[in-house]
Structures are given as structure tokens and as C-alpha cells.
């Protein structure tokens, strides 16, 4: 009962913010930055499941994101227009019809990305450390090259005309879901098993933790949310291009979790927001902005090597109750 109430409360709050936000912040550029922050938070927190909790090293997150983005775009553009039109004809307000279409597309994108996560997670049984890292990197690049070569989804031209269904509500909802899943996981048996694998794989295995299963599980869940983030991104920008999913994108996400402190959910959130806002804030110095960004990254790593938070968590009373429960 309390749980249902809490869920309802979160939903109502999100809808309220969704309605109020454009009035509070009339500047559409600021709104855009907020949306990108949300999408990056989903990406960072999901990658944190693999890199931070389980201690595996994946640098192919952009690949999963690309799968989610393209799948979701194809679903809304090719599969669902009929259903959306039918709903509109039946008198369903467009906001619900579009929301329903986005939800279906997001789940489809996330699921296909999760399948890809399984495909990458399974070979990882044989590979460790840097070898695993480079395989995930290679996987991400292969996805990009394949997309580049499929003309039906635009190839190198990119895919334009994706309906712009994403709004603040959906981004925020998925942020809440991924953060909730992370925190709950952390406090559960499964999460403890993942942490054990991160701390010492051999010790975990000898204590009966099925390391293979948990490593694959981490990959699948993380890929699912990356796919979700991709789907939201696709329906926000209305345009997809394979060039947005290079390994530099994966690197950006890694920079977020390393800066936040590996394994810290609240750190990942803070760093995702900081690293999204920072390049935007530096727009004033145009050509120097990426140089400054790179230098800040180096300086931060030298002065604060374990990230903003280390492995600690920001404990608001609400979170404390969660973890204790």
C-alpha cells in the first residue's frame, strides 16, 4: 500500500513538473539542456551497473544506445503510425496516444538492446579486464558500421522524421526507474553478489556466487537502460545519425561514471549533469571549449582520482530509508 502510494506520488509529481517546467523555464535552450542531462543520467547510471557495481569494464555503451534509438525510431515510424492514428480517431488525446506509442517503442528499443547485451555478455565469460573492454569497444563500432550500411534506416544520411514524442515526463520517469532499480539492486542479494564480483571474482566464486550469471545479468540490465536512453534521445531530437554513436560517446559516458566515483549512483547522477552542463556553459568561449573540457578532465583526474563521491553515496533521508529497508 505504502509502495503504491509512493509510486503514485512520484507519477503525480512528475506530471506536475512536466506541466509547470515550460512555464518556469521559458527558455527552450535551457529545457533542452535539462532533457539531455536526464538522458545522460540514464546512460551513466546504467553503465554504472556494469562498470561500477560488477567491476567489469565496458566501453561500448553507445552501441547499445544506438540499437535502442534505431529500434524505437523504426517502431514509431514504421510499425505504430496506424495505431496512433486509430487512437486519435477514437478520441484519445494526442498526449496519451503519443505517450503510449513512445512507451511501446522505448520498451522495444530497450529489449533489443538487452538482447545485444546478452550477446556481448556471454563471450565476456572468457575475457577479462582490458580484453573485455576492447571487445565491447569493437562491438560498439561494429554496430555503428552496420547501421551506416543499412540504407533502409538512412545509412550515413541519418534517419530523420522521428516523431518528437519525448517530453520531460518520460525522461524523468525513466531516470526514476533506473535510479530506483540501481538502489534496490544495491541492497538486494543480487546486488551484493555483483559487488562481491567487483571486489574479488575468485573469492566470490569460491563462496558460491554464480559469477557468470551475474556478469551477464549486469550486462543485460545495463544494455536495456542504454537502449531506453537511446529511444528517448531518438524521439527528442527527431533525427538520428550513426556519427552520434561513435566510441567517443561511450567514452563520454565512462568519463561521467569515473568522475562521479565508480559504483556510486548519486556520483554518477551528479557527474552526468556536470559533464552535460559544462560543455554548454563553455559555449561562450566557442573554439576553446573542447580544449578547456579536456584540460578540466585531466586536472580532475589528477586532483580527485577516485571521483567526486568515491564509492560513497549521497544519503538523503529518503535514500537512507530505502537502503535500510
Amino acid at each position: 500500500m505504502a509502495r503504491a502510494l509512493k509510486t503514485l506520488g512520484i507519477l503525480v509529481a512528475l506530471i506536475a513538473v512536466n506541466v509547470l517546467l515550460p512555464k518556469l523555464i521559458p527558455n527552450s535552450y535551457f529545457l533542452r539542456v535539462i532533457m539531455l542531462c536526464g538522458i545522460n543520467v540514464i546512460l551513466a547510471v546504467s553503465l554504472n551497473l556494469v562498470n561500477g557495481f560488477t567491476g567489469q569494464f565496458s566501453i561500448g555503451h553507445a552501441g547499445f544506445m544506438a540499437i535502442g534509438a534505431y529500434t524505437a525510431a523504426v517502431v514509431t515510424m514504421k510499425v505504430l503510425p496506424g495505431a496512433t492514428l486509430a487512437m486519435a480517431a477514437a478520441g484519445v488525446p494526442p498526449i496519451f496516444a503519443h505517450g503510449a506509442a513512445l512507451l511501446v517503442a522505448t520498451l522495444a528499443g530497450g529489449s533489443l538492446a538487452a538482447v545485444a547485451g546478452l550477446a556481448v555478455g556471454l563471450p565476456s565469460l572468457r575475457l577479462r579486464g582490458d580484453y573485455l573492454a576492447i571487445v565491447t569497444l569493437g562491438f560498439g563500432e561494429i554496430i555503428r558500421v552496420v547501421i551506416l550500411n543499412v540504407d533502409a534506416i538512412g545509412g550515413a544520411r541519418g534517419l530523420s522524421g522521428v516523431p518528437a514524442y519525448t517530453n520531460f515526463f518520460w525522461v524523468a520517469l525513466w531516470v526514476v526507474v533506473v535510479v530506483g532499480v540501481s538502489y534496490n539492486l544495491l541492497a538486494s542479494t543480487h546486488g551484493r553478489a555483483m559487488l562481491a564480483i567487483r571486489e574479488d571474482e575468485i573469492a566470490a566464486e569460491s563462496l558460491g556466487v554464480p559469477t557468470t550469471r551475474y556478469k551477464v545479468l549486469a550486462f543485460v540490465v545495463s544494455a536495456f537502460f542504454a537502449g531506453v536512453a537511446g529511444a528517448l534521445y531518438a524521439h527528442y531530437d527527431s533525427y538520428l545519425n550513426p556519427a552520434s554513436f561513435t566510441f567517443l560517446r561511450s567514452i563520454e559516458i565512462i568519463a561521467m561514471i569515473v568522475l562521479g566515483g565508480m559504483g556510486s549512483v548519486s556520483g554518477a547522477i551528479m557527474a552526468a549533469v556536470a559533464l552535460t552542463v559544462l560543455p554548454e556553459a563553455l559555449r561562450g568561449v566557442k573554439e576553446y571549449r573542447m580544449v578547456i573540457y579536456a584540460m578540466l578532465l585531466i586536472v580532475l583526474m589528477i586532483t580527485r582520482p577516485s571521483g567526486i563521491m568515491g564509492t560513497r553515496e549521497l544519503k538523503l533521508p529518503w535514500f537512507r530509508k530505502k537502503v535500510a529497508a
Binding site: R126, I134, I251, V258, S306
Partner: protein
């Protein structure tokens, strides 16, 4: 058959360039367990230093073999200095931190070099001065090799032999192998590990710069982002060969170059960038530590 042999010649030329870059990755990894992401950008830096040096020395106006050599040596020296500075001021401070921290630092350096390059050199591609006019030399059976390809092969083989001599037959090379084997034990034996690590970075940067100049001869268009893809593929080459293993890097580089040229020749040039990674995954599934890498049993 003739076409295949021709592709093979082209592939080996590309492969020797990849091998030169891969050597830097593998040496640094062998010593520090660090994937030096900025290595591909050192390669770019080498090409640009050569571009400017060719202007200063007037090689562009009056091409000569001596001038070309001077340009090559300048590029290698310049990149060596850059490698030293990067190691000293970016990597050394994070050496005691976790390996991920070091990796992100490397990525930061890479972004810095790329964007700094865009700022200093401009976004438009430059045309690398051609020191020799391209002439084709027949190898019989309709297979030809250009003089540029021969220069590239000769320079790379000479550099690899020089590297082999340094690593296997000099005192500093012995120290490099010792540090790579066990850094703490090497320190206890009185080896100045800091100096050896610096030296390794400089050596890697020098080789990458040479590769940059050679690529400039082959593909005269150079731009500040030219190092990203070759850098990545050379890294893949190093992993395929068994990272940390010097002959492995050369083998991996050659495999990478040949397979890439074959894909372009027989399948489609758009799949060129994917083949490296397909190959990588295929090889790692069967040989998880690369072709020549030693499988290390985990100690409990």
C-alpha cells in the same frame, strides 16, 4: 590471383604502418598496463610537425632525400618531446591511482590533442608535401609496387629492427623488459623506473610520429582528427597480437592491414572500419590473450 597479390602488397604496406603505431601501444601497456588513448593523436602530431618542418626546411620547394630524412627526424624528435611532456605532466601524477583513472586521463589527453590540433592547425585538411614523384615498379606477373610503398616498408622495417636492437641488446632495453616483468622488483634492483617509463613513452611516440609521416606520404590529406581511427585500429592490432608482446604488435598490425585492404578490395569499402573489430572478436574468442600473448594463470 594477380589482383590478390596486388592487394597483398598494398595490405602489407598499410600493415607496417599499423604495426609502427601498435608498437607504442604495446610497449606502454607492457610497462604500465595503461591503454594510451592519446597515442593515435601523437601519430597525427608527427604528421603535422613534418608538414611544418617541410615548409621551414624548404623541402616542399626542393624535394631531396636528405631533406625528407631531415623532416622525418624532426617529426620524430618533436613527437618524442610531446610524448615525454604528456607522460611527465598527465600520466605520472595518476600512476598511483586506479587504472580507470589513468585511462580517463589518457582520454582527456587525447581530446586535448585533437581539439588543440583543431585550434592550432585549423579544421581544413592540409596537403602533405610529396618528397618523391610516384613511380610504379613492376614485381612481375602484373603486380606493381610504388616507390612510396617501398620507402614506407623500408623505413618501418628499419625502425622495427632498431627497436628490437634497443629492447633486446641495450642496457636500457634490458631495464624496460625488467620493469615490464615486475615493476616493484625492478625498482628494488636499482632501476630508475620513472626514467624507464619516460623512455618507453618517448620511444613509442617516436615510432608513431614516423608512422604519421609515412601515412602522409601515402595519403597526402592530413587533418587534426586523422589519428582517431588508425590509433584505434593499431590498438586493436596490438590486442590481436597479444598486448604487451612486441612481435605480436607487428604481427597484429600486418594482419590488420592486409585484412582491411582485402575487405575494401573484395567486399565494400564501407565495411573497412568494421573488419578490424570483427577480426578482433573472432580471434579473442579462440585466443583470449591474443595470438602471441601468454595466457597468465590467475594467482589466488
Amino acid at each position: 590471383m594477380q589482383e590478390f597479390l596486388q592487394q597483398l602488397v598494398n595490405g602489407i604496406t598499410w600493415g607496417s604502418v599499423y604495426a609502427l603505431i601498435a608498437l607504442g601501444y604495446t610497449m606502454v601497456y607492457g610497462i604500465l598496463r595503461l591503454i594510451n588513448f592519446a597515442h593515435g593523436d601523437i601519430f597525427m602530431l608527427g604528421a603535422f610537425i613534418a608538414y611544418y618542418a617541410a615548409g621551414w626546411f624548404g623541402v616542399q620547394a626542393h624535394p631531396s632525400a636528405l631533406g625528407a630524412l631531415l623532416v622525418l627526424v624532426t617529426a620524430m624528435t618533436g613527437a618524442g618531446i610531446a610524448g615525454f611532456i604528456i607522460e611527465r605532466f598527465a600520466y605520472r601524477p595518476v600512476r598511483k591511482s586506479s587504472r580507470l583513472t589513468a585511462l580517463i586521463t589518457a582520454i582527456g589527453v587525447s581530446l586535448l590533442l585533437e581539439n588543440g590540433g583543431l585550434l592550432v592547425f585549423g579544421t581544413d585538411p592540409r596537403f602533405f608535401p610529396q618528397v618523391a614523384t610516384v613511380t610504379k615498379i613492376s614485381l612481375g606477373g602484373g603486380v606493381t609496387v610504388t616507390n612510396i610503398q617501398l620507402i614506407i616498408l623500408a623505413v618501418s622495417v628499419l625502425l622495427m629492427l632498431a627497436l628490437r636492437w634497443i629492447v633486446m641488446s641495450t642496457k636500457v632495453g634490458k631495464a624496460m623488459r625488467a620493469v615490464s616483468f615486475n615493476r616493484d622488483a625492478a625498482t628494488l634492483m636499482g632501476i630508475d623506473t620513472d626514467k624507464i617509463i619516460s623512455f618507453t613513452f618517448v620511444l613509442g611516440a617516436v615510432l608513431a610520429a614516423a608512422a604519421g609521416v609515412l601515412v602522409g606520404l601515402m595519403n597526402p590529406k592530413i587533418d587534426p582528427l586523422m589519428g582517431i581511427m588508425p590509433g584505434l585500429k593499431a590498438f586493436v592490432a596490438a590486442v590481436v597480437g597479444g598486448i604487451g608482446n612486441i612481435p605480436g604488435a607487428v604481427l597484429g598490425g600486418l594482419i590488420m592491414g592486409v585484412s582491411e585492404v582485402l575487405v575494401v578490395g573484395y567486399i565494400s569499402s564501407t565495411y573497412r572500419d568494421a573488419i578490424a573489430f570483427v577480426l578482433l572478436i573472432a580471434i579473442l574468442l579462440f585466443r583470449p590473450s591474443g595470438l602471441l600473448g601468454k595466457h597468465q594463470a590467475e594467482k589466488v
